[in-house]
């Protein structure tokens, strides 16, 4: 009998230091996944945590992890060759296909860039399928920006708009929250928006984009909840009767607004 609670044992094959508190772990787990899906990462003896997949190939998946909780702090102390467990992939993923032949806006805040990275890479590899593409990315400080070494390549394929809350020496770009960049996006109508970041960032970005006339029916956001089982049984990630692990983590803004328990991420977006 297939047991969805049983993790597959995998190894850490590489570790990339992204920022002082974030590392990307390359895990020897040949999973077929859709951009936006997540896995349950097991550290044996410590437990499990849901982690978005930030990249991968036929041999491995990448997990970009900020050290904030029990599991995530532990994996930061682990080394190449150490063993972890993987269940998944779970969740619906980003509706990338909806953006084909149309404009695409990718809006990320902080660690929220990680689940969007597979989308960006898909766009780079399939650039002709999309019209205008913009990446909007905000971080607290320049030193906390993820995937800086990729930005140059990405900017060959799309408009990359960056901002930080607090500048550091050498930063010549924009200072301010993500919303301060919204009016620099060159395409508005017929744009599919994919958004991930802290609740407050998603909320105000949604409001700004709506005011600028971006179609709300085509705005999608990825919610973060306490997904324990990943398969819609344990109940922890439920929001308004939907399971973020199974029905999400990606929801359209319109659907999220209709939920009975309005998620924090969209509270106050329409009142």
């Amino acid at each position: 009998m297939n047991n969805p609670y049983l993790p597959a044992v995998a190894r850490i094959t590489d570790i990339i230091e992204e920022t002082p508190d974030t590392k990307t772990f390359v895990i020897s787990s040949p999973l077929k996944f859709k951009p936006g899906q997540f896995v349950e990462l097991s550290i044996f003896g410590y437990g499990e945590a849901p982690i978005s997949i930030s990249g991968g190939n036929e041999k491995s998946i990448d997990l970009t992890i900020r050290a904030v909780g029990n599991i995530t702090k532990k994996i930061h102390r682990m080394n190449v060759g150490d063993y972890v467990g993987i269940r998944g992939p779970f969740g619906n993923g980003w509706p990338v296909e909806r953006a084909e032949g149309r404009n695409l806006l990718i809006a990320a805040g902080g660690i929220g860039l990680a689940p969007l990275k597979p989308v960006i890479e898909y766009v780079c590899n399939n650039r002709k399928k999309f019209r205008n593409v913009t990446l909007l990315y905000g971080a607290r400080k320049p030193s906390l920006m993820l995937f800086k070494y990729k930005l140059e390549e990405w900017s060959k394929h799309m408009d990359v708009l960056l901002t930080v809350d607090e500048p550091e020496e050498g930063w010549k770009g924009n200072v301010g929250v993500v919303t301060t960049l919204c009016d620099r996006i060159k395409h508005v109508s017929d744009t599919v928006t994919l958004m991930c970041g802290p609740p407050i960032m998603m909320k105000y970005t949604s409001i700004s984009l709506m005011e600028l006339g971006f179609p709300t029916g085509e705005m999608y956001l990825s919610l973060e909840r306490n997904m324990k089982c990943g398969i819609g049984i344990c109940g922890h990630c439920a929001v308004g009767g939907l399971y973020v692990c199974r029905d999400g983590p990606v929801f359209s803004l319109n659907d999220a607004l209709k939920l009975i328990e309005k998620p924090h991420e969209v509270q106050g977006v329409i009142d």
């Binding site: 009998m1 297939n2 047991n3 969805p4 609670y5 049983l6 993790p7 044992v9 097991s42 044996f44 003896g45 410590y46 437990g47 499990e48 904030v68 909780g69 995530t72 063993y83 467990g85 802290p198 609740p199 973060e224 909840r225 306490n226 324990k228 089982c229 398969i231 819609g232 049984i233 344990c234 109940g235 922890h236 439920a238 929001v239 308004g240 009767g241 199974r246 009975i260 328990e261 998620p263 924090h264």
Partner: protein, 342 residues
């Protein structure tokens, strides 16, 4: 036409079943009535109504081990406990309608697109022999949902005097009907059974006076009260003890954790029942999405009368009244629902 069994033959019938099946039936342990594995049929108690503990722990125990792991030879070895889960055939005797309906609800959650294999193994070989209640408990309100005889069962017993009338609900049930114990029931017996069930249901109804049969209508009504002041009021009363969740035959939330030996080299992953009333329930490393108690109280009521209707088209409440019975703050789910549909 159904069959009947003389009351004084029931014990023999159960002994006969016990030869081939693992038998579960109502017993009392430490002053608490529940349905447990029977070693000796004389331990079975005769209750006129449901047990204090539902069927849930039989299929979904409060604590369940998923697997064992051991760090060995530079790797990790995993031993799945699933194969150890017995798939023996079992018979659960003396179950009430509310509990049978509740198990059907639990099936929807556990055996949906993703299956819970630990639950499935225990559930799929279980034969249900139910029985009509003689009279209701104080907190019972099953008639609000349609009455005390469920739609699906294997056999269903109803007291008709010196005999139990036995309805056959499935092929599996039919196979249990042995001439040694059962005899053909007459039309009169059947009428007696119907009269009996009606009279008990009337008794319950007289007290309950709530009818939630029109699911769509009441689901909408309750859904529209999301911002009502009732949640504030209940939030002040509720002490978040979680008793309603644990006792509920359809509550299925669980937490998953790793227990290890002292140096972490070996351990087990277990699941433990969890409660949506608890502060930590919807907490992530960044935020607590149901920090306010009133939001947690509302969530549970909605997860009985609104959310399962959206997902599966059924209520996740069957009117057993256990949560009202155990709530130290006196929150009565039936009274709450009555206020919500007013």
């Amino acid at each position: 036409m159904g069959v009947k069994i003389a009351k004084n033959r029931v014990n023999e019938f159960l002994k006969y079943l016990k030869e081939e099946y693992i038998l579960y039936a109502p017993v009392e342990e430490n002053g608490v009535s529940k349905i447990s594995k029977i070693e000796d049929t004389s331990d079975i108690i005769n209750l006129p109504y449901r047990t204090q503990i539902s069927l849930k722990p039989i299929f979904f125990p409060p604590e369940q081990k998923f697997f064992r792991f051991e760090k060995k030879n530079g790797g990790v070895e995993i031993e799945d406990y699933l194969p150890q889960e017995g798939d023996d055939k079992s018979i659960i005797f003396g179950v009430r309608g509310c509990d049978v309906n509740a198990i059907e609800v639990l099936d929807k959650y556990m055996l949906d697109e993703f299956e819970d294999p630990y639950y499935r193994k225990r559930r799929e070989n279980a034969i249900i022999i139910g029985i009509s209640c003689d009279y209701p408990k104080e907190s019972c309100f099953c008639t609000a949902f349609g009455g005390m005889v469920p739609e699906r069962y294997d056999l269903w017993f109803t007291d008709i005097g010196p005999h139990f009338y036995v309805d056959i609900g499935s092929k599996r049930g039919e196979k249990l009907i042995d001439d040694k114990f059962f005899e053909e029931a007459s039309e009169e017996d059947e009428m007696r059974k119907i009269r009996r069930i009606n009279s008990v249901e009337t008794k319950i109804n007289r007290k309950v006076k709530t009818n939630l049969h029109d699911i769509k209508k009441y689901y909408h009504k309750i859904k529209n009260r999301a911002d009502d002041s009732i949640w504030e009021e209940l939030g002040r009363k509720c002490v978040s003890c979680g008793k309603c969740n644990f006792i509920c035959p359809t509550c299925h939330c669980f937490d998953v954790k790793d227990m290890t030996n002292i140096d972490g080299s070996a351990g087990e992953r277990i699941r433990v029942w969890d409660s949506c009333h608890l502060y930590d329930y919807a907490k992530t490393s960044a935020e607590n999405f149901r920090e306010e108690r009133k939001a947690r109280v509302r969530y549970r009521i909605y997860d009985k009368f609104v959310f399962p209707v959206m997902r599966y088209g059924v209520y996740a409440c069957t009117g057993c009244g256990r949560c009202s019975e155990v709530c130290p703050a006196g929150i009565d789910i039936h009274a709450v629902v009555r206020r919500l549909i007013k």
